[in-house]
């Protein structure tokens, strides 16, 4: 069973640096990284680029990237740039506590 090696809440204003920092922490022993997008209502082209780079890095290190609570508008952006197959998506059960 995969282990969650990192959990990161992404701030909309800091998507690019946050992903860069997360990328630096990726080690090469597999596992799973969970990025919480619940606070990201919109992404900009540089953030898309950063996600593309992050996905590539995670691939190289055999790390599975899980995006949590991506809103549908952002999901559509990722779909249009063909990035959705690079990530797993999960949603929090709205009844469960944070």
């Amino acid at each position: 069973m995969a282990t969650i090696s990192a959990w990161l809440k992404i701030d909309e204003e800091r998507v690019v640096p946050a992903l860069r920092e997360a990328g630096e922490k990726l080690n090469g022993d597999g596992g799973e990284v969970l990025l919480d997008f619940s606070c990201v209502s919109r992404i900009v082209p540089s953030a898309v680029k950063a996600m593309e780079n992050f996905a590539r890095l995670a691939d190289d290190r055999a790390v599975k990237v899980v995006l949590r609570d991506v809103n549908v508008d952002v999901y559509k952006v990722l779909k249009l740039v063909k990035l959705t197959p690079r990530f797993s998506f999960v949603s929090r059960d709205p009844r469960s506590p944070d």
Partner: protein, 888 residues
């Protein structure tokens, strides 16, 4: 001397891109990736976000209009700087004026009365080719449209207009970026090749090609396999008709043809002038600075400004001043000459100047008549100008309309300059644009002035609509014993009673006669007691005409009443074509054929039914046999419904037992089928349920005690009530099977219905293999409605399946009690004979329109199975029990 570079381009744009280097491909891929990301990010923008970006872009374009115009003229050496400023302003200010209040994000239009909502979806990445003739204005326009619609654009300017275009793109991009547009929303190819274009045109990430330019570019765009807006050349004919305001016309033509030195493809090319005004018009042109060429000069121009090999204009002449062209070819003209005018005698290759000339050279043609003028305009239109633009100057509306009809042009400009008129929003209310759609004539998908809506995918959100339904029956129905007395209340000068021999024989006609007002002249027309034939109807109509009848009384069963309905139709509307009126239809409200509403005469139809089954006294149906052509004509329209129905049981008291049973089961089938029909409504349900209740209670009594007045009365009412239900909800697959079987084996309709009925209930109550599409029903309810019937009849059962099973059993018991054969085999039809008949029976049943309102869509194989079930008969209740388990 003049090279034909643009002409070469027409044939040399490659569709393949194999020659691109890896570095070049990487560069192009980078551009596409950037544009795709920008377009994707753009989908998150709201209308307010977009509008916040558009306005400053427009203002920047206006501010830089002169700068860009100067750059364009310096680089391209084409056109007039002052006019290019105007073009840049039209491309920004006028475009903005049109789009500023338009919604292009989310819901853009709503049609509440149609339950429709239009929602915008951006295209994504647009690959845009821009021309040499209108370089910066086209870029400004396309940038504004793209931002308004949340698209990203990769620009590929004409190589000879690259600097000015890339500057226009830069100005638009930087302004857009400052106001929140996504990075990479506009890019401009650097020093590109035709292979670059080919590569991008075929790129998966490019959603649309918007090619404004020469025919080569447009052709390449359309050949790429991508959705494309290809806007290319024209050849604008102008008809200057004798009623026109000549002063205005001449000035308008000069304005248009000299605007930017004639570079707009909508500008006038050949002016066809009426003979009567020809000289006057040329004098006016000359007075205002045009040089009228003589024969020699015209020939010289034809040899030089038109490429003799291709027949197209020489590119170096494009956008040049009239004086420069004159000097270049060796014509002597005054220094202030604005326009060269060359008379031509025809259109086509032998008349080189009849083609498009994007410079201030105008051909003129002297026409002897309107007819000749229009024909020459058509010729010019077909010589490279199909779908583009045409102009007419006239005060004669008829000529203007005719011009509009015969000329194939997306823009038909009336009494105004062609080029500026076609741009829209200046001289008329056309949508402002820098790209003219030329329709299929020009190889384009649209004739519109290309605008924001062409940069959008418009999605239509269609909510389920509550279809209008109806409940239509005769507005007067008199029932119960001696109801026929009411005939007395209908004044009539002359009444024709249509009946059959039996009615006359047993004295029913006399009963009716005695109820007629004294002053009414009565004629009795006796017709055979069989499905009416054409000759019977013809004779009936002759009788009605002879007596000038104002009232028809149909006294009899379904056949007599049907005959009377058709006679009335032909009597009132002799031109009615029965064969045409019998055309099939799916939805009564959308039927192709309309019944006549204009009537020569009017006659009241009173229907008095003498059987308790068909309910023809209230139905809108009639069947006619056309023996001559060997066919049946089934008519259905509410205009056929009788005006008055008399449901008087005294006329059925003497019905034989067999007929009582047959017609009674027909009535039950009507009610059961209307009850579960996909057209059923609360109105028809009420009737269907009541009729079923009455049949189960009173039919056995009427059958066993024919003189029981109450039972006869209630069965007569039941037949009429069931008919009101199926007149509005229609019937179902039982009737389709019975029609086919009855016709093939000569079995009475009620009897045929009875053989099928238990099997059809079981069939409809099971989970359908195929559901019937119906806007009138929600979910599958047939089994539930049968259960409701079972409850109504007090048949017991705790679950739906138990109730359905009980209904089937009760129906079988009723049929047994009425002495019906319970299988087709019992009729003496051998298995072999039936097997042979099955393919035809199935086909006939499937062709029958009755099943189209059945709740379950029957497959051919299911129809065959139903026939076989009816052949074997009995045991349906048990089978129903099994199939009901699936439904649960």
């Amino acid at each position: 001397m003049i090279t034909s570079e643009a002409v070469k381009e027409r044939v040399e744009i490659p569709l393949a891109s194999e020659t691109l280097s890896e570095e070049r491909i990487a560069y192009l891929e980078g551009l596409v990736s950037q544009a795709r990301t920008a377009a994707a990010v753009f989908t998150q923008f709201s209308q307010e976000d977009v509008d916040r970006i558009v306005k400053p872009m427009v203002l920047a374009g206006l501010e830089q209009a002169q700068h860009l115009a100067r750059l364009a003229v310096e680089e391209t050496k084409i056109g007039v700087m002052e006019d290019k400023v105007i073009k840049n302003m039209v491309a920004t200010e006028f475009a903005y004026n049109y789009i500023k209040d338009k919604r292009t994000v989310g819901v853009i239009r709503e049609f509440p009365e149609r339950n429709l909502v239009e929602i915008a979806e951006p295209i994504g990445v647009i690959f845009s080719l821009t021309p040499i003739t209108n370089p910066t204005s086209t870029v400004l326009f396309k940038c504004i449209m793209a931002i308004k619609t949340r698209n990203a654009v990769i620009f590929s300017p004409h190589p000879k207009a690259w600097r000015c275009c890339s500057e226009a793109v830069r100005i638009m991009y930087e302004t857009a970026l400052r106001h929140g547009a996504p990075e990479g929303v506009f890019t401009c190819l650097e020093s590109h090749t035709l292979q670059d274009n080919a590569y991008l045109m075929k790129h998966k990430a490019v959603g649309l090609i918007d090619a404004t330019g020469g025919p080569g570019a447009v052709k390449a765009a359309y050949s790429s396999g991508k959705p494309a807006l290809g806007v290319g050349p024209g050849n604008t004919p102008v008809y200057l008709e004798k009623t026109a305001d000549l002063n205005t016309a001449v000035v308008d033509i000069i304005i248009s043809k000299t605007f930017d030195n004639g570079t707009i493809c909508a500008s006038e090319q050949t002016v066809v002038i009426d003979d009567e005004i020809y000289d006057l018009v040329l004098n006016k042109f000359a007075e205002l600075g045009a040089h009228i060429c003589n024969d020699k000069e015209t020939k010289l121009l034809a040899r030089t400004v038109i490429d003799p090999e291709t027949g197209f204009m020489q590119p170096l002449a494009v956008g040049q001043k009239a004086t420069d062209i004159a000097r270049f070819v060796g014509l002597s003209v005054k220094p202030n000459t604005k326009l060269l005018i060359a008379p031509i005698q025809g259109v086509g290759r032998e008349h080189p100047l009849s083609v498009e000339k994007l410079f201030p050279l105008l051909s003129v043609y002297r026409a002897k008549s309107v007819d000749e003028a229009l024909k020459v305009c058509v010729d010019v239109n077909h010589a490279g100008g199909l779908g583009h633009t045409a102009v007419i100057f006239s005060r004669n509306d008829e000529v203007i309309r005719k011009f509009g009809e015969v000329i194939n042009a997306g823009r038909l400009i009336v009494n105004s300059p062609g080029s500026i008129g076609a741009l829209g929003a200046v001289y008329n209310d056309l949508v402002p644009t820098l790209s003219f759609g030329c329709g299929t004539g020009g190889g384009n998908s649209t004739t519109d002035n290309v605008n924001i809506y062409h940069y959008l995918n418009i999605k239509r959100l269609a909510r389920r609509t509550q279809a209008h339904m109806w409940f239509r029956v005769p507005n007067q129905i008199y029932f119960n014993m001696n109801a026929v007395e009411n005939v007395r209340n209908f004044p009539s000068r002359c009444t024709v009673i249509i009946t059959n021999p039996a009615m006359e024989h047993i004295g029913h006609v006399d009963i009716v006669r005695r109820c007629m007002p004294e002053q009414t002249h009565v004629h009795v027309l006796v017709i055979p007691d069989a499905e009416p034939e054409v000759k019977v109807v013809v004779h009936g109509v002759e009788t009605l005409n002879f007596y000038k009848a104002d009232q028809i009384i149909a006294l009899g069963g379904g056949s007599v009443i049907d005959a009377a309905k058709i006679m009335k139709l032909k009597y009132e509307s002799p031109e009615a074509d029965l064969q045409e009126l019998a055309a099939p239809f799916l939805d009564l409200r959308k039927r192709v054929v309309q019944y006549p509403t204009e009537k020569l005469t009017r006659a009241r139809l009173i229907a008095i039914s003498t059987t308790s089954g068909t309910g023809s006294e209230v139905t809108p149906f009639a069947v006619l046999t056309d023996k001559e052509h060997g066919r049946k004509v089934t008519l259905a329209d509410y205009s056929l419904s009788p005006d008055v129905a008399i449901v008087d049981p005294q006329f059925v008291m003497s019905m034989p037992k067999g007929l009582t049973a047959d017609t009674g089961i027909d009535c039950l089938t009507h009610a059961l089928e209307a009850g579960v029909s996909s057209y059923a409504s609360p109105y028809t349900d009420a009737d269907a349920m009541q009729a079923i209740r009455l049949v189960f209670k009173y039919l056995p009594i009427a059958y066993e005690n024919p003189r029981d007045e109450e039972a006869r009365c209630m069965m007569h009412n039941a037949a009429c009530i069931a008919a009101m239900a199926f007149s509005n909800a229609s019937v179902g697959v039982n009737h389709a099977l019975a029609h086919a079987f009855g016709a093939r084996f000569g079995v009475a309709h009620g009897r045929a219905n009875a053989l099928m009925l238990p099997h059809v209930i079981a069939y409809n109550a099971a989970v359908p293999t195929k559901f019937m599409p119906s806007p009138y029903t929600q979910g599958y309810v047939a089994h539930k409605k049968y259960a409701t019937v079972a409850d109504l009849l007090g048949l017991g059962g705790n679950t739906i399946e138990e109730k359905v099973k009980n209904l089937v059993a009760a129906t079988e018991q009723l049929l047994d009690r009425l002495g019906f054969p319970r299988s087709i085999a019992e009729l003496g039809i051998s298995r072999e004979e039936f097997e042979r008949a099955i393919p035809d029976l199935t086909k006939l049943a499937f062709d029958d329109p009755s099943w189209r309102s059945n709740p379950r869509m029957p497959l051919m194989s299911e129809l065959a199975d139903l026939f076989w079930s009816a052949y074997h008969g009995r045991g349906v209740a048990q089978a129903a029990n099994a199939s009901q388990k699936q439904t649960a």
